[in-house]
Amino acid sequence: MGANMAENHPVGFRFVMQAKERGAKLIHIDPRFSRTSAMADLHVALRAGSDLILLGALINYVMSSEHWNRDPFFQEYLTHYTNAATLINPDFKDTEDLAGIFSGYDPEERKYDPEAWRYAGQQGKSSANQHHESQDAMARTEIVGQQDSIPEYDFTLQDPHCAFQIMKRHFARYTPEMVEQACGVPQAVFLQVAEAILTNSGRDRTTSFAYAVAWTQHSIGTQIISCCALLQLLLGNIGRPGGGILALRGHATIQGSTDIPTLYNLLPGYLPMPNATQQHGSLADYLEQERPQKGAWYTMPNYVVSLLKAYYGDAAIPANGFAYDLLPKISADYSFQPMLLMMKDGNLRGLFCMGQNPAVGGQNAVLARQALANLDWLVVRDIHEIETAAFWYDAPEVRRGDLRPQDIGTEIFLMPAALAAEKEGSYTNTERLIQWHDKAVEPRGDCRSESWFVYHLGKRLKQLYQGDTSPRGRQIEAVTWDYPTAGATQDPDLDMVVKEINGYTVADGKPIKNGTALKDDGSTACGCWLYSGIMTEDGHNRARNRKGDERASLGWGFSWPSNQRIMYNRASADPAGKPWSERKKWIWWDAEKEEWTGYDVPDFPEHKQPNYQPAPDAKGLDAIAGDAPFVNMADGRGWLFAASGLRDGPLPTHYEPVETPVSNLLYPGQLHSPTVKLFHRSDNPYHEMADPRFPYVITTYRLTEQYTAGGMSRWVPWLAELQPHGFIEISPELAAEHGITNGDWVTVWTLRGEAEALALVTERLQPLMIDGRTIHQVGMPWHFGFGGLAQGGIANDLSALVEDPNSLIHEAKAFTCNLRKGRIAGQSQGARPL
């Protein structure tokens, strides 16, 4: 669900095909019939934006089924490994009680106070900070939970305030009838799916879900994924081989760039950026607020201090809080979409764009190009003259004459970049596996790696600020930047960078063995604690390991944390430490050697007895019981009820997309997520529910033959020819209503913009019956733009700026539009390409 794996991860899909050979069943639940559907046993077409309803109904089906209630496996997994038995604050009110919202909602601020969702008897340490100004900070203690004492449980699961009973009531209205009405999926088809998933889960079998951005790109995206996590916890499918929820990520190192983040709100290893709206004034304050007392995150000070040592070297000493003040602080949401507004409004004046094409890939791309046109300067580092570099003379608005180059003041530097094989470095793939790519040749001409660019830019800036004793001078002066350079291009020595990421002892510069060696006294430096262990103590880069095998391939690359391949793999054994079954054996307790062992690196303290029970005042991992696999969480349990950590509620709840043709059939009084982040401005208008001007649901997607915003595919002849032009997929039923035949020009529009596409009339799209009326859905790949060989209207010229309140991701997978036959007036009248 939420993924088109055969098309977007074709080589990953070979494992699905191998499983099918061995009899596995593949179900594809997606608005469109895609190349994945063609390989599936079952294709379930649903309305874009209704996924959570179907998942909720699966949860309800499972919890009500005799099979699930009878099989002791499920009960054992549930009571030991999840927080099903945990009692919740009796004052908590569910959406059942408050007509679609949870207790703790502030309608003025459009925010929740998660204090109302606490476990019973728990204060919640950060309660004093709940009323901070910014919605954009989430303390680490909130994410993993903060408990002052051991929670209260009812292991009979009968108490009406236990998470299990609350959840059961919450999902009671997610029924097969509702799925039929709101998703457009016939009940019989839904029941087929539900039965297949249930019967394929248990002691001896596991079911796996794969999702991608078709789940994240919704205003409730995080909750859709949470909902799946709940289902998988109920079915005992987490931490076990063949189970899990697989996030199919879309770029070579989008995982790595989240771990070692080029993201505004994170420091390497998921450490929160210091935030001026929080009590983050000093290092001590920051750690006091962010450091959870129980669970794996207790050692966070070691990571923070070691990072400061890696960043600021000798300038980071205990007396100055390891130069904590030199780290900038955030105060608001500076994520991708608000950045576009900062640019357009003149607050963000200079931009580096390295391997990204926001003129095509940015939501509300019309606005994105206006934002680029309002910059003082723009550095684009890429391999082609992508739209983001060429917008000032080639964008549709310039071609039309609405905007002229002589009106655009942006100074633009288009810098040629080097690619993998022309530079060395590592990518982290979708399985958290870090792999090294060697340099095969020198880059051509002035093509250079980003390492080269950033390193030499840093050198020049250090020079320019030499002798400047102001804080901004000290900041750039203090940052350690002394990597040796080598080779014809004088690239920085990446072995030194890998060592810094891995961590080393300050005194002798030797790599540390793993993250447990890190200290909070300044004796160790570490650029990303999560990657510690990537370099061995004798300096070998384990990302270069290339010895695979038939099972976990622990000798191929390095996967974080500590080379573990399945996270939370303690759950692959029963509470006593025995494998749940021979067939699903992965990690188990060796009673003789008194250690965890198996096919993988155990994600659990090596010698912790399965029957270990923590003392009430225990800290860190000592506070985690021997039968609690989810070591990152303060209570070691998988959360069915998220007492904190989410901004839009403790349980997944369906709300309609910001733009929808139908009302919320689940909660008639609450159409949208009560905490969705909207940007109400004249240049980012939204469509009202069921606006007759925009009757169709539109969803955007990728194709096998193209890649993201096109910079790496539309200019490459062999790929361009395979999908040479932008198109829109329309069902024959809708095409007939508009007199559109296959290959016709079609104009699609929203209040944000319009785009041209060629019609691909196909039965792979189908109208659905939603709440008694026909809803048409159309699909448009978002790869295309005005540059390169393969061109086409920009799908993102149609989409809007909208944010999921947790992930700050937009909603391009479900919004509304209209369309007509023909081209945009004033557009160059090319010949019909058919």
């Binding site: 983040p261 940015g362 003082d376 051509r444 690359g557 200019w715």
Partner: protein
């Protein structure tokens, strides 16, 4: 000789002549050097073999040894040679002055110095040492960064380190949210 043995079975009346070129045919990677790379497209992480001869890449194909792709590639991965050798790939710096209607060729060194100057100007003009409540923030909101998901981990590390820790640039984002 093996060819001629086979040709005995040939159904035609006369065996067709084998040209010198055909006789000498062999895979061009036979005597090439090989390095190991990772496909730059999606996040599956397919291992690639990069064959080079005389400092040029002559072929890129899947690595049989990889437990991920076992020698295979998708069309994008198979086009990696074409990506590297794209006919419209830029290899020199292009510069567009404010309000100009054309690109200008500039040297790499000139561009690097000019960019450094522009960063300093913008940063100096828009640097905040403290926020309105007196909290130390040491940042500039006037410079931003997009990208990173298609770069290398080490590059992301250096970008975050220089831009955020060294320059106080906080608006640093990649494709993880789009």
């Amino acid at each position: 000789m093996k060819i001629f043995n086979q040709l005995k079975d040939h159904i035609g009346l006369v065996p067709n002549p084998i040209s010198d070129k055909t006789r000498q045919i062999h895979a061009r990677i036979n005597d090439a050097s090989m390095s190991i790379s990772v496909c730059p497209y999606c996040a599956v992480g397919c291992s690639q073999l990069v064959y080079t001869k005389d400092g040029k890449i002559i072929d890129i194909e899947g690595n049989y040894e990889s437990p991920i792709n076992g020698g295979t590639l998708c069309p994008k991965g198979a086009a990696t040679w074409g990506l590297l050798h794209s006919p419209t790939r830029i290899t020199t710096v292009k510069y567009r002055a404010p309000y100009s209607d054309h690109w200008e060729e500039r040297s790499l060194d000139w561009a690097m110095e000019r960019i450094a100057q522009r960063v300093k100007q913008t940063r100096d003009a828009h640097y905040e040492e403290r926020d309105e409540h007196g909290m130390t923030v040491n940042r500039t909101l006037a410079i931003g960064h997009f990208g990173g998901a298609t770069l290398d981990n080490e590059e992301n590390y250096l970008i975050k380190k220089l831009f955020t820790a060294g320059l106080g640039i906080v608006a640093v984002e990649n494709q993880a949210r789009i």
